[in-house]
Amino acid sequence: MVRAILAPSKRPNKHLAWQMNTGIDLQGNFLQTLKDIGLPAGVAKALWIPLPLFLMLVTATVGVLVVVWLERKISAAAQQRIGPEYAGPLGVLQPVADGVKLVFKEDTLSSKSDRWLFTLGPVVVVIPVFLSYLIVPFGQNLVITDLNVGIFLWIALSSITPIGLLMSGYASNNKYSLLGGLRAAAQSISYEIPLAFAVLAIVMMSNSLSTIDIVQQQSGYGVLGWNIWRQPVGFIIFWIAALAECERLPFDLPEAEEELVAGYQTEYSGMKFALFYLGSYVNLVLSALIFAILYLGGWESPIPIEKLAGLLGVGETTPWLQAIAAAIGITMTVLKAYLLVFLAILMRWTVPRVRIDQLLNLGWKFLLPVSLVNLLLTAALKLTFPFAFGG
């Protein structure tokens, strides 16, 4: 899947202690193979660069197909229905059929709408979501870029989305769309702050913004080392805020079907609508992945593999162990993410939609002070118990 750390020396020295083995270096091997064939180093690099990007794009899209299928099947189960059944085994091809239908639909443009903003809106919504996958690690070296501002990049990119929503809502020349766009903007802005505070508490404990460092700080003790135990309030705040950012059901006011038809999506059809649809599901998966990384130990399995290998007397650098560890890492990350997606879908059929005033009250009067207190408490605990809270 990927790669990325240029060389172990790029990391701060203190991590080298944990990071005795650098794991599988796909990029290094790829470049070396090409150089052995006789290609110049520059050409080899240029050949490598699109590979992880393309792979990530495909992963995200396939992830969406899975989530759409899951959403339909789990929704059906929650209502004692069967759900998609005839498109492929167990209806797994249903999301593909949906996508193909959207591709072939007419691309309509309502009269007196702003053509440019109308077209740009979905693009502005989708691109940042896909870009955020840059920093999602699936393993020690299985990440496109290990930025030292990783998690901050995600927060920054996610605040571009409401601009796109507002754009498309305003450009549609439709009252429902405008209301939906305004609601989306208000909601995103108010829930970004508690979200950032919750992330900040984690960052404070990990002493790093890099997603890799955040996971490594939780590693070594299996399930007991995960941040969820150190941030019991933080993860709830993060989850609520993430649901609001994704416009998932308790907070899906921007597209509330019963009140606003479909909010900012009302005038959209065909591929432009498909972009919104894709964007919302990619965002859900992304939020679940980030949650897994921040609070559930990312690619770490509940029982630490390294310790287990040590007990069995298998060296950390054994190739087959590394391959198995990488496979388990990817599985764990994806498993945790989909568990959270399941929770989000279950939530959708459990809680009713909040009103706009309740939404803003919850955001500003509850989540914001609680997340601030959580941040201060984390700082105090970090000073008092530096060994347990990453001092």
């Binding site: 189960a77 929650a78 004692q80 229905r81 069967i82 459990t350 809680v351």
Partner: protein, 197 residues
């Protein structure tokens, strides 16, 4: 000073309660995951209508005495009874009879009051058509025998809840000859006759 503390504690309590209720709700929806779907795959499976099902009305032309009771008891005087008085026989002679099922509310009054029992309810409920005028059934259409779910080889008939054995909720894969809970009408009649004797 104490007032604000109380406010804070009340607020915290409310938040915990809210969280608790959401948790309870989640456990309910989660419980639904393991329940069987209630879906009836309609064109391939159909529920068997109950004994007292009020479907399309059947009409027997020869039994009708053109008394027009059905018209009088109908909430909207729907049945059209076209008759002529035959002076020689001194009898009404029925020429046409029709009911428009696009307007009928299937209340069953006509069936209830018909003195010669020439009207009866059937178990037929699939009346969809492309033109509402096709729903205006004349005496020929009304005289057709109803479509039966159990006679259709393309359809898997499913029993409704009331017709399943005791404790069974799943109409699929029923054992052959399994009876519904309680006594069947003929059994009740038999028991009463035995009591009399």
């Amino acid at each position: 000073m104490f007032k604000i503390l109380k406010q804070v504690s009340d607020y915290a309590q409310e938040s915990f309660l809210a969280a608790k209720y959401i948790g309870q709700g989640l456990s309910v929806t989660f419980d639904h995951m393991r329940r069987r779907p209630v879906t009836v795959q309609y064109p391939y499976e159909k529920l068997i209508p109950t004994e007292r099902f009020r479907g399309r009305i059947h009409f027997e032309f020869d039994k009708c005495i053109s008394c027009e009771v059905c018209v009088r008891v109908c909430p909207i005087n729907l049945p059209v009874v076209d008759w002529e008085f035959n002076k020689e026989a001194k009898k009404k002679e029925l020429k046409h009879y029709s009911i428009d099922f696009g307007v009928c509310i299937f209340c069953g009054n006509c069936v209830e009051y018909c003195p010669t029992n020439c009207l009866s309810m059937t178990e037929e409920y699939e009346l969809a058509s492309y033109d509402r005028h096709e729903l205006n059934y004349d005496n020929v259409a009304l005289g057709r025998l109803p479509y039966k779910v159990t006679d259709d080889p393309m359809v898997k008939p499913l029993r409704e809840f009331g017709y399943l054995p005791k404790g069974v909720l799943e109409p699929h894969d029923l054992a052959a000859g399994s009876k519904r809970a309680g006594k069947r009408p003929e059994e009740i009649i038999k028991a009463e006759e035995n009591q009399k004797a």
